[in-house]
Symmetry: C2
Subunit: 381 residues, 2 copies
Amino acid sequence: MELPKSIAVQDITSFDPPKRKLMGPGPSDIHPRISAALSRHCIGHLDPEFVKVMDEIKLMTQYVYQTTNQLTMVVSAPGSAGMEACFVNLVEPGDKAIVCINGVFGGRMKENVERCGGTAIVVEDEWGKPVDPNKVEEALKAHPDAQVLAFVHAETSTGVRSDAEVLCQLAKQYGCLSIVDTVTSLAGIPVLVDDWGMDAVYSGSQKCLSCTPGLSPVTFSKRAVKKIKNRATKVQSWFLDMNLVMNYWGTAGTKRAYHHTAPVNALYAMHEALLMVQEEGLDDRWERHHKHHLALKEGLEELGFRYLVDEEYRLPQLNAVFLPEGLDEANIRKQLLEDHMLEVGGGLGAFAGKIWRIGLMGYSAREENVEYCLGALREVI
Amino acid sequence: MELPKSIAVQDITSFDPPKRKLMGPGPSDIHPRISAALSRHCIGHLDPEFVKVMDEIKLMTQYVYQTTNQLTMVVSAPGSAGMEACFVNLVEPGDKAIVCINGVFGGRMKENVERCGGTAIVVEDEWGKPVDPNKVEEALKAHPDAQVLAFVHAETSTGVRSDAEVLCQLAKQYGCLSIVDTVTSLAGIPVLVDDWGMDAVYSGSQKCLSCTPGLSPVTFSKRAVKKIKNRATKVQSWFLDMNLVMNYWGTAGTKRAYHHTAPVNALYAMHEALLMVQEEGLDDRWERHHKHHLALKEGLEELGFRYLVDEEYRLPQLNAVFLPEGLDEANIRKQLLEDHMLEVGGGLGAFAGKIWRIGLMGYSAREENVEYCLGALREVI
């Protein structure tokens, strides 16, 4: 058989990635233990040994989310798909959802509501400020027919933390289910699903869990599961339909049924990442993020950086800072990447070219990284 | 902060997977080179070095699909999501799609059409038989308003190959776009996207590419892209909306825009897997699958197995066989797994408990595996 020569590819070789330190908004540095788990021998996605791994992942995901929710598992795709899993399962055509926007990811939530055939009532706050519970309560009062309240716990675009406990309690008080983005918060600051009464929560593997990018841990409360089981319409996504996925993950208490082929190796890495959270303990892990944030903050402020977010709402794991006056941020960021093998993040949206986002997430939240980052900054500016 | 003790997890340790030989319907054995690539140092999903990797993956995916389609990339989720990517982009509410069902995955296509708000016209063929082009042509004639013809090239549930070239030509003749599942065929038997005039094609990473499970290479023809760009409605999935994804993959010719966080390490593995296809050459790779299939077939028939599918339509990479009379298939399969570290697949649907599916995919298609499998079978039956 003759192959079209024109599309044969030459001159491509195995990729040897540069050894960057990852201090952007994610992915974060991956611990050698997690890398090692990633490349272990692949087995079948229905192998009894793999089913045990899935069971353990479920248990440890419950721990990291601080929940006893039965429907707790890991979506076989990145955080954006975890977000979509929450919306497509909980928002039916014609439903009304209150969506809080104070950064990029709130905007994405609105897109999700609309693509599910729902109506989004937007509560806006300034980028860099937390979601204002008073505005949310006004919206809940004005829209008693809303079924969902959606917000971002830790806005990756601005480094701001909103008060998830207060917002979830408001949702409950007004008869809404809460959908909460904890992509950047989970395992870096407290996310207490049961204590706070959160209903549908998603996160990403590549932030404070320091796992390989591409997975999304999710959890759904009993109230959320009830809604999912009693929908009038089928979930529009077959791949993300929790009615099907829960049978594969064994979270429905029934015999496991094949649904899709799980990303086996990535889940090995997730197993190891969650195990490391267990071993460290959530309390100590939160404290570690806080401690290294303080050290970084001191150094950054000495260098003339100033924080975008008020101290009270600042995320220790994502430092959004204005550069000292007169610096060419894109050029300096390029120097850090190329000459110092250090990745920090630029600003998004209105903050593009204005702020940096310096991550201290998971394995990246350590003294070595803080010192390395400050040292490199002292050289380039 | 006090943690609920009840959900603290004890007694979980790092997972050390058993060293199975994977000869089921996928995942297949992963080559050491691909495993090694998987755990290389993670860098950012917008790092210029990673963007180069994505460009190379795109080129090599074009090669493996034998296409010059600009919109060729890898979906950041398993084959089921690749399937969904094709349907949500090409089927709008109210659209009519002709769906061929001759196994499990045709049934899943029907689900997809319906969840997109479309109407599925089903053309059924017996499980184990190829899709009958005559029936398809009748359906196309009876439904001149159909916009899509969807079928499975290589049915993973039965090991049958349908004639993709003839079916895609029929689609074109009757003004339909073709959606083709090549999950099990790609890189194991010819899939000639341009020559055959295929419009939207998806596959999986874990079959004849022998990459880690969790990714789905896809390609869309110019005709398909035109439809996507001129939809009356937004694609219902934000995560799988090719209008957005193509801007991240740089397949729209514009500056790259952040969409979602790519599964960086899994894409390293895909890069290496595609490189190994390049190095071997598609012709030789197809020939290798054929050769080892013949050897396995000879041994299986000597042992009293007989093939479900007629020789003409048999997939070399997926051997669907009835067991010799009087054997307890589940028990023997368990023995193979536990005592011989060998995974073979059971039957699905109507064939559950009746057939086995023995895979010879990618790196698993080698003499060592054929001999190992036949040797183990001789011992257990």
